[in-house]
Amino acid sequence: MKKNTAKKILTEPKMNYDLNLLQDMYKKMLLIRRFEEKAGQLYGMGQIGGFCHLYIGQEAVVVGIQSAQIDGDSIVTSYRDHGHMLACDMDPKGVMAELTGRRDGYSKGKGGSMHMFSREKGFFGGHGIVAAQVPIGAGLAFSHKYNGNKNVSITYFGDGAANQGQVYESYNIASLWKLPVVFVIENNKYGMGTSVNRSSAGENLSDRGKAYGIVSEIVDGMDILAVREAAIRAIDYCRAGKGPYILEMKTYRYRGHSMSDPAKYRTRDEVDKIRKTSDPIENIKSLLNKMGVEEKILKDIDTDIKSIIAEAAKFAQDSAEPSENELFTDITIN
């Protein structure tokens, strides 16, 4: 299953892809890319505070997996969560307004970049503590199984989180109880500034599922079709009641760990090379070209997205700060 991460164009689709689906995936990836670029800009302008972790470079992972989900599936991830929210169709305006700490943000301005949620869209956060979302994702899977529905939990975490003990506590219970959870390891090669090689013993992070009897795959996370196909296999497996599944996505983040990371732990060349050879958006764009999609259509998508992002940024800056009364609300329900 191991695939070469450095390739220029996508594998020829193994499945019959509907052109609309491919265009939608392209659109969503571009939305995430442009959203993150704008967030970076607003951060530089002082409009966004605190920690802000951008998803640029990793777009194919979340969009590919999302394309294999059905309504009612739950998603939970770490603090690098903007892409996941946009992939779940959460409103870019609400996400951006949360980044700027305004009352129209998804958490009324009380959560910020790392802590956003939408029950309606099945997005359960946005968690700031490395790996804390992993048992929570297993717990969401537990609720699906308990309720006897066919939904699954998609639980994302990074290569850094993959060394936390609670990941293995979750693997163990998920496997024992056959919980419908897809553990998606977004291996972007660096946990903050420490490369996987320096932090993680053993060959592949995905191998660690073997000890718990969990099926795993390594997937080229820069290739959205490979991601989608693996996601379909994993999700089908979970929906069939066979237990958890691990997908290790080999991906890459172009930006630093957060906005304040100078990224001295890797060379500019390394980043440029991946950008040039395996950018997930360029990959699907060339596929669309190859399939005969007119340049004008792609241009129009681009223009649409630019205006969505401009509108979201304006909304996020125009929205008022939360009312001071909000300080003492939402601490407990009663």
């Binding site: 998804y106 958490s107 009380k110 959560g111 802590h115 946005g126 717990g139």
Partner: protein, 444 residues
């Protein structure tokens, strides 16, 4: 030579047990390691092995006898090598202890009056009833934890739940507190109502991040979207002779954090009424029980719908001279102290807090206004403890009503020692409460 076989202590807090079955008869030859009896404690039924070789001379306690105190001789073992010809029937002078002769009395109360529509039940039974009743009425309620299902509960609190509700409602977990606490929280985000048992709250330290960062804070961080209706329950505080890592009160730790409710029952009535409320509550509730209290009996309402409100204290005894504020096991000790204080002509009021967060400040302040003197009691450490919080509260809200400094009776500021004498010194005793009350009444 005749050896007395004594009733063994099978757990740190065991004081007595039931000799449920003899596995040998008088006259049987046994070797060291043979099973000789089954003994039921309030935690489990255990088989007892012989520790010497010989012949069973006499069984001193009949099968089925309850309330056999630890260290009571239960049988005589004859050394067959030394006394090969002695008639075993003649050896024992001690009377055969008949089942009926054993006096069974509740440990905690000299006389307990049973209220109307109530029964005398243990705190353990009250907790179990609360869970079972709520599980019958709400299919989203389930129980998970170490040994809660097949083992029937490390402290038997979940006894019978697996039989009644099956393995889709009662889950044995591996010994991985951080992981299963997080799974419980995820399930609660998924609209279920988990009851997560920690074998003791000492082990919940492993799960602290999930409890605080995920359960307590997510509602706020989500702008009110992500409720977490979960109960974390289990024994808290000192048990007996288990030393520092297994004897700590976590009341002040959890009470410190916004987003949590912290409840700590004393009696069976508290246990049932508050646990039912905790299970029904939409917020995460930390439910701090006490191992020593599990076997104590109290009058408890039979009604399946009986609940006690979270956030409301109870005045267990009215008084005018001094207010003793306590929770959990310290309520019983405070009531004992109040009895002793009567002889000193001090009429103490005893407040059972029941809930530590949100604290029932009204009841506390009203009582201060009546008695003008306060003694707080807790097993936990003094520094940044519940007593410290109450003292600050009274200073802020009722300073002018005080006739004496608020005085704290607490566990000592040391890790719990193992040695029996040191452990006793480390824990707050009835006498400490009596002296503190006398002191604030200027009667010492």
């Amino acid at each position: 030579m005749t050896i007395e076989i004594l009733m063994p202590a099978l757990s740190p807090t065991m004081e007595e047990g039931t000799l449920s079955k003899w596995l040998v008869n008088e006259g049987d030859s046994i070797s060291s390691g043979d099973l000789i009896a089954e003994i039921e404690t309030d935690k489990a039924t255990m088989e007892v092995e012989a520790v010497d070789d010989g012949k069973i001379g006499q069984l001193l306690v009949a099968e089925g006898t309850e309330g056999v105190k630890v260290n009571t001789p239960i049988a005589l073992l004859v050394d067959t090598n030394e006394l090969p010809h002695t008639s075993i029937k003649n050896i024992a002078e001690k009377p055969y202890l008949e089942k009926e002769e054993i006096q069974i009395k509740p440990i905690n109360e000299k006389s307990i009056s049973i209220e109307a529509n109530s029964s005398l039940i243990t705190v353990r039974e009250a907790l179990r009833n609360a869970m079972a009743e709520e599980m019958r009425t709400d299919k989203n309620v389930f129980v998970m934890g170490e040994e809660v299902a097949e083992y029937q509960g490390a402290y038997k609190v979940t006894q019978g739940l697996l039989d009644e509700f099956g393995d889709k409602r009662v889950y044995d977990t591996p010994i991985t507190e951080h992981g299963f606490a997080g799974i419980g929280i995820g399930a609660a985000f998924g609209n279920l109502k988990p009851i997560v048992e920690f074998m003791t709250f000492n082990f919940a330290m492993q799960a602290m991040d999930q409890i605080i960062n995920s359960a307590a804070k997510t509602l706020y961080m989500s702008g009110g979207q992500m409720g977490c209706p979960i109960v974390f329950r289990g024994p808290n505080g000192a048990a007996s002779r288990v030393a520092a890592q297994h004897s700590q009160c976590y009341a002040s730790w959890y009470s410190h954090c916004p987003g949590l409710k912290v409840v700590s029952p004393w009696s069976s009535k508290d246990a049932k009424g508050l646990l039912k409320s905790a299970i029904r509550d939409p917020d995460p509730v930390i439910f701090l029980e006490n191992e020593v209290m599990y076997g104590q009996s109290f009058s408890c309402p039979n009604d399946d719908d009986f609940t006690l409100p979270i956030g409301k204290a109870n005045i267990e005894k009215d008084g005018n001279d001094v207010t003793i504020i306590a929770f959990s096991i310290m309520v019983g000790k405070s009531l004992e102290a109040a009895e002793i204080l009567k002889d000193k002509n001090i009429n103490a009021e005893v407040i059972n807090l029941r809930t530590l967060r949100p604290l029932d400040t009204d009841t506390i302040i009203e009582s201060v206004k009546k008695t003008n003197r306060v003694v707080t009691c807790e097993e936990g450490f003094p520094f940044s403890g519940i007593g410290a919080e109450i003292s600050a509260l009274i200073t802020e809200k009722a300073f002018d009503w005080l006739d004496a400094p608020v005085t704290r009776v607490t566990g000592k500021d040391v890790p719990m020692p193992y040695a029996a004498n040191l452990e006793k010194l480390a824990l707050p005793q009835v006498d400490d409460i009596v002296s503190a009350c006398a002191q604030v009444c200027y009667e010492d």
